[in-house]
Symmetry: D3
Amino acid sequence: MQILLINPNSTASMTEQALRTAQRVAAPGTSIFARTGIDTPVSIEGFSDEALSVPDMLAQIRAGEADGAQATVIACFDDPGLDAAREAAGGPVLGICQAAVQAAMVLSKRFSIITTLPRSVPAIEDLVLRYGASQHCRRVRCIDLPVLTLETETQRAFDLLVAEISRARDEDSAEAVVLGCAGMSEMTAALTEATGVVVIDGIVVAIKAAEALVGAGLRTSKANAYAYPRVKD
Amino acid sequence: MQILLINPNSTASMTEQALRTAQRVAAPGTSIFARTGIDTPVSIEGFSDEALSVPDMLAQIRAGEADGAQATVIACFDDPGLDAAREAAGGPVLGICQAAVQAAMVLSKRFSIITTLPRSVPAIEDLVLRYGASQHCRRVRCIDLPVLTLETETQRAFDLLVAEISRARDEDSAEAVVLGCAGMSEMTAALTEATGVVVIDGIVVAIKAAEALVGAGLRTSKANAYAYPRVKD
Amino acid sequence: MQILLINPNSTASMTEQALRTAQRVAAPGTSIFARTGIDTPVSIEGFSDEALSVPDMLAQIRAGEADGAQATVIACFDDPGLDAAREAAGGPVLGICQAAVQAAMVLSKRFSIITTLPRSVPAIEDLVLRYGASQHCRRVRCIDLPVLTLETETQRAFDLLVAEISRARDEDSAEAVVLGCAGMSEMTAALTEATGVVVIDGIVVAIKAAEALVGAGLRTSKANAYAYPRVKD
Amino acid sequence: MQILLINPNSTASMTEQALRTAQRVAAPGTSIFARTGIDTPVSIEGFSDEALSVPDMLAQIRAGEADGAQATVIACFDDPGLDAAREAAGGPVLGICQAAVQAAMVLSKRFSIITTLPRSVPAIEDLVLRYGASQHCRRVRCIDLPVLTLETETQRAFDLLVAEISRARDEDSAEAVVLGCAGMSEMTAALTEATGVVVIDGIVVAIKAAEALVGAGLRTSKANAYAYPRVKD
Amino acid sequence: MQILLINPNSTASMTEQALRTAQRVAAPGTSIFARTGIDTPVSIEGFSDEALSVPDMLAQIRAGEADGAQATVIACFDDPGLDAAREAAGGPVLGICQAAVQAAMVLSKRFSIITTLPRSVPAIEDLVLRYGASQHCRRVRCIDLPVLTLETETQRAFDLLVAEISRARDEDSAEAVVLGCAGMSEMTAALTEATGVVVIDGIVVAIKAAEALVGAGLRTSKANAYAYPRVKD
Amino acid sequence: MQILLINPNSTASMTEQALRTAQRVAAPGTSIFARTGIDTPVSIEGFSDEALSVPDMLAQIRAGEADGAQATVIACFDDPGLDAAREAAGGPVLGICQAAVQAAMVLSKRFSIITTLPRSVPAIEDLVLRYGASQHCRRVRCIDLPVLTLETETQRAFDLLVAEISRARDEDSAEAVVLGCAGMSEMTAALTEATGVVVIDGIVVAIKAAEALVGAGLRTSKANAYAYPRVKD
């Protein structure tokens, strides 16, 4: 099975980080090919960054499916362009926020999400509402670090995440914590170990959900809203 | 990987039907062992039937995990005892309604559900609300046949399902249809073929979701709501 | 008028406590007969406890109605098996959580609920949502004591409740407080006196609501969802 | 026990009709004194009619409590001035729409409401949302007759109600029907008999709920939102 | 263009304050004529005050339209009698709470509201829900001052507002703040300057919205719910 | 005052049509300069079309503000890139769907929306939810015509709109109808005349709302979610 893992931003090291995480959990027989955004922002930190990353992402998804991809995972927690991607793709398209939220609703009654910058909090809250998890999500928190700092100041980011996960557990009675940025994925195991909390990374669960849907023989419905884009003269 | 597939009712032929469906989609290396309710109702057609099936189901889940099950799938679309099962289990527990609803939210913008008896419609509507899919689920429909008739009058059930799926597509603009009873699972492919609609069966997607969560290394959070039942003197 | 007061757990002293509360408010002419769960958990502290108490409760409700009960009150704040009980019964069935929430919505604009253990908080939050009171219920709080401690360490429980009611008033601007456990019912008057807050006990209001519905000549609708369980061969 | 039954409009025959209904279900020992609006509209058929009826109603409630009323029932299905009435009163105040909706949520999973004029439908829908019953209320219907026609053309109104209740049962799968106008209350038993549907009248259940809350020793919370109106210089 | 600015309470100095604010932002060609409640409460601080102010307000709106008013602004943040006013009026009717909430949803993702007395908080929360802004409104706060104190102790009120706006920004991550009382309108600019926060005053945006709707050639729909009150014999 | 009217698609004739509508309602002193998408889809008929139009739109908004635009109106009913545009802009940004929905909530209790293609219905439903109008919007309907057909087969489109508006009035009891495509704006008056229904066009009300917010001295909050995009190295 071939899965396209697309990082919509243009920072290749983030793609590699996500790919390492993905490969660690991929089933035997799953081949993951990762793509990085071309001429897109170096990180997705707001609505404009999202918007600027989507056209290239759609092209890459089409190219990926032409090359044999059976499912697509969008490796950015804002789930940029998710509806558009599902329209463009034939196979299932997983957003890592939606995948993580769905997993958290199965594994816990109440969870919190921890993202990077404060400005991303309302955007993620809106996704939580859209994915039907408002009752289950206690709070969207942040560590107030820019995305790329996760790579340049990893230890500091880790310490802040440990502290914030602990606050989610103690103040929110969160039973699980979702990591709200693709760039945090390689810390998942260490964060779980450091805090004792069930920590859910979107890349991990999205890759597995992609395998699951392909394995189930299911593809994106092409009736109505997710029909392929209309071809115009 | 070992997955427990538990049919909470006491009709072994339904368990076998569900097991055949499950095995058809199981990944290599997944071993599914199926269990049938003991002294539970022959079918789950209402809240009392649900309630009478849960205590035995909880015992079977505990026994199943003791025997090595890493995840559990409850093969009844009412998701009976889902919260209790998650409390009793260490591994992930999938309800086929929740699993199907989550898949439908990924593969389509709008879907409908088709169940057996009218009396089950409000119960499933409440599950849809609880799973956060009220905006996505157009309508819960039924074919007005008792559950066991799916086995005894299969052709009639099939014809009614084809007609109702078509109504969901035409009247609800449903882009996908979820089958609202475990006993319908073996008809999935034929229904898709007959109607051209994306048809989602809960057993299929729950088995795959179970594999996905186990593969992701995730287990039910034992903090707070899903902590193991308190032991009392 | 005959009302069945069923305590789904198997601790007779809790039944007696609830019965004393019920009799204190019963109208002249109301006869309350109380029943205790047989072979059910000694307290309901989680979803499994709930599930294990329901089958016996359903049998007792049927027996109670055969003996002349015109309405049933379930004396556990988790409202275990409420839908199933309404299916099994001909008369009205009151859950003490729903009854208390409905009373609180009449007597105040904003209220909080105080239960025993933290693990019960999400379960009660879900009931609040289901009963349509999310806008009215400020917060579900707990005193972090096991249920049976209400009997063994009554003074400590009382002091914790006084403190928590005060917090609900001061931090939540709660205008009324609902006691979130049947075992607290005999403290209601003292708590009101100690705090000056309107304190609502579910047993009290459920008994009165049962009298009200019987007095109104109303019974559970047997059309569709609450029809008697289907009889199977 | 003394209960004030206030008809906010100025049509005395409607008050008498409501009073007859109320007395038929009142408990022994309950004394109901009815009041009619003074210089208010002859019927409440819209938001302005509501608004014009409230100031007099508030004065009558204060007078009624001064005369010994322990609870108040507002006999108009729009629940005009309900929040203001609760502010003005010390005892519990029941709106017949809220009381009927709460009873319907106990006695059925899904119900519909049938009112008089089309213009009242959105107003009642908003009450249903406010009372937390959006998931339970299938539809607000109307028979397209002015309120006073219920008295002048009773047979025609009855026939239209029978037809509309049947539609609610057949098209909405309504398990119970709430009568959406105080002026329909005397037809309740006949409508039940004619249709076989559980028909709920707001005056009946509001009177019984008033008795219940007084019997429970509960009064309107005077903390915060329902505190008595501020006295100003 | 003529706009009626109606202050439903009977304090003329509040009307003048509101009028000064309105005239400061009115477009050239807009003529605003202000009216003060006659025999209504001196301030609106609760549901009864609201109710007592509406009948006169409806009469003034009718008179105002007869005198040429093309739109109406109700200068009280509780939006008293808004539905009734729309029924009575032919032109658009703006409530300052709804207008401010709609503006805040355009200018920010998350905002908080600051009102005067604690008792007004739940009322405003209910308006927020009704106007569809529950996801956008972080919190309704108050400074715990009676309305008229805004005029008699202006500096104290100002200081309390500065402090509370700062708390909204810091604790709620509010991106804008809505002033929750008409009597605060003249402080808007100074509050913005003192805090650096986008502060939205309802009178300002309601006047501009009134101009906008009249300029668009739109009037209140007279179909169904907002049809003119029925004339009765 | 200068307002930027941006048509995100690349069909200049649609821009001109929108501009004519805008100028017809603009206040004296308002100068509207219209821009057409460059290298964007010829029409916006789905999520991909939206996504492909946003990057150019953001650039044009920045350029427009640099040229003196004080507010921006996005002339496409899907409100593509609305959050990103607000991030990019300093002045208020109006989406014509949100503006129309807000106006409809002021002018009516219940409205319906009529768009072009069936595939756009779920997208608009999601906007309705996001703008808090689910209770107010009866139904999103469509005439099943591609967007550009509004220009090439105007009479046919008009006839279909008349028929669908009539259905909204009769079947939905819609009190107002919102036109769900920028390309319908010039038909507004004729549709109102032909049907007698209050018809709301998004361009009209968005232009007026833009004037209103600029006139109020309000700009987009730059705190948190709508802060300008982060500048990266």
